[in-house]
Amino acid sequence: MTLLRKSSIWIVFVVALFGLPQIFDSILAISILNQMAIAIVFALSYNMLLGQGGMLSFGHAVYFGLGGFLSVHALILIEFETMVFSILWIPLIGGLFGLLAGIFIGSFSTRKAGTVFAMISLGMGELIAASSLIFSSFFGGEAGISGDRTFGPLFFGFDFAQNIEIYYLAAVWVFIATLFMYLFTQTPAGRMANAVRDNPERAEFIGYSARKVRFISFCAAGLFAGIAGGLFALNYEFITEENLNAATSGRVLLMAYIGGLGYFIGPIIGAVVLTLMNSLLSNYSELWMLYLGIMFLLTVMFLPRGFAGFIMMHQMAWVRGNMKMLVKPYIVTGIPALLFAVCVIVLIEMSHSDEETFHFLGMTLEPSSSITWIVLIAIAGAAFYAVRRSRAQLLDAWETANAAPKEEQS
């Protein structure tokens, strides 16, 4: 591939990063873009552990949170002129603290991957989250700590009071962090991380200590999570124990998994999707987290390679120009599936609301009438049946579309 083709996706990335706020420039949109930026770095850092290294961590928020806490303290130091430096460097400070924490915790966590690793990460996560409530001088107790990012040297006249200014700063950091995390995968350390993930025993027999390989990935993941924490501190100027706890660790796991662990771009997709669900969906329904849970479980069961995996499954078909073969099968299965999902959502929302009437897509439904329920359930049932019937033909079409024109397998 020529350099231009290879870097074309990076160009698209840069254009998206700096161009999107021009198109979506409302205050809400900028706020969402900021959240996405933070989530992207955080989720990518998590994937260094899980997708690249095969280490399932339930305590990754620790590095994010610690990075964030030190960053807010740094903001306070700048504000009171105890130290003077531009807030441009804050994410780096967060990153360094995340790295230090990673070095310390990684020194005893990385002996094994698998369940033992997961349990240590869970234990450390809970330990540190609980300790943060005890050590209130650094962590501010339940209320957390807050700072102000408008102090310190100006950057070309900007004091970063506005969210859009912080966004552009974040965008630069997102680009740098993403680039470096990608480049890591193209180094011996990154490749050996993959090898150790696949077969730690064999990796040792080609000369590498599996533990040391994992340790390097672990520290790097801590560094970038800390950077994400720094970005968080700059955006919200406020941080609490919640940002280190198990719920936040769970959320980043969700993001990376839904997006797709096996692909570099997977966590980016996951971060974007989850941030959108979090900010937009929550306006329409109180139950968005229930839907998230259902979606997550369905992804684990039916799309184990995530959204990115789903897209990549069509790679062969795309390359072979067979995409049009899939259009009709997708419509035949897709429409009933969509109908089923919609009916279920309506049923769930109706049972949750205590209002007299229920508005949906311009239609007004009456929850009190049993006919409404019967009709909805009937439609849902029929749709489900249609999906099951048509699954076979979709799989067939997909296989044909992806198959080689002549037999390649030997």
């Binding site: 349990m119 609980a130 001088s137 969700l254 849970g293 479980l297």
Partner: protein, 316 residues
């Protein structure tokens, strides 16, 4: 002082037995499938909620009998239609699935029952002090909790070691292929063990609900501690889980009941620090404060120095 010790011990035992009821189901499931069921405490929560709802209409005792059954059936269905499907994607996928399940159950509980704490009452006939010692009461309900726990363990022990079904299960746990070749329906056994494991968690929920409060966060509170227990006790070891459960139950109970703290330790060493010392939080810490943290501290120490746990058998 003495009554503090006695009651702390009794309460620690009650908690310990309860924790073992959860840990035993988790250990059985882990021994069998090699996966730590992250959602185990969620079934405990479901047990409490189902029992609560049943108790509103039919009284506590109906709840005690039927709620675990409902939970067990749900567990079996989860194994059959969820976990089994994910099994082919590997251990990580299984762990992530159970994690997602825990998340979903917590949301579902809030959906069906609301976010408030439920007023799940202990039955009236147990609403009296069992005995009074040195001025403090020990409620009959707590005695009941202990009795049920012990009763279930004895039943479990006999079923597993003396009955034909139990022996088949023990064999299927370590040698599923051989057992299948002998003509037994191993998938059914798996489903059954998962169902029983979750039903056990459900029983724990039914009896603990009134005491430990029934609210949507109850799974999260106990969930991590149960993992700590099975890991410390040794993944796959029931005896280890038993020892660890009692250990943690007693440890926490003593820690909460004591009022020893860092200041006492510093006094002993003849040190003292000014109030504005940066590590002041550390110097003023006391044992009850760090009681919730102790299990995790223990977990990390065990995992570093003895990763197979106290009596661990199954190596990855």
């Amino acid at each position: 002082m003495l009554e503090v010790l006695i009651f702390a011990t009794l309460n620690g035992l009650v908690t310990g037995f309860l924790l073992f009821m959860l840990a035993s189901g988790l250990t059985l499931i882990f021994s069998m499938m090699g996966v730590l069921n992250f959602a185990h405490a969620s079934f405990y929560m479901l047990g409490a909620y189902f029992a609560y709802s049943l108790s509103l209409y039919f009284g506590f005792w109906t709840g005690l009998i039927f709620a675990p059954l409902i939970v067990g059936v749900l567990g079996a269905l989860v194994e059959r239609y969820g976990l089994r499907k994910v099994h082919q994607s590997g251990h990580v996928a299984e762990l992530v699935f159970t994690f997602g399940l825990a998340f979903l159950i917590e949301e579902a509980v809030q959906f069906f029952w609301g976010r408030d704490t439920k007023n799940y009452q202990t039955p009236e006939i147990l609403d009296f002090p069992l005995f009074t010692l040195l001025g403090q009461e020990f409620s009959a309900y707590r005695g009941f909790m202990m009795a049920i726990s012990i009763g279930i363990f004895i039943a479990l022990y006999y079923v597993l070691t003396k009955s034909r079904v139990g022996i088949i299960i023990q064999a299927a746990i370590t040698h599923p292929q051989t057992v299948a070749n002998l003509g037994h329906n191993v998938p059914l056994i798996f489903m059954g063990v998962f169902g029983v494991g979750t039903a056990l968690a459900g029983v724990a929920g039914v009896i603990a609900g009134p005491v430990l409060t029934t609210f949507p966060g109850m799974a999260a509170v106990l969930g991590s501690i149960v993992f700590v227990i099975v890991v410390i006790g040794g993944l796959g070891s029931l005896a280890g889980a038993f020892i660890a459960s009692l250990l943690i139950g007693l440890l926490q109970s003593y820690a909460i009941a004591s009022d020893v703290g860092m200041p006492d330790l510093l006094d002993l060493l003849g040190l003292s620090f000014a109030r504005d010392h940066p590590l002041n939080d550390l110097w003023t810490i006391n044992l009850p404060q760090i009681a919730p943290v102790l299990p995790f501290l223990l977990l990390v120490l065990v995992l570093i120095f003895r990763p197979t746990g106290l009596l661990g058998k199954r190596e990855e």
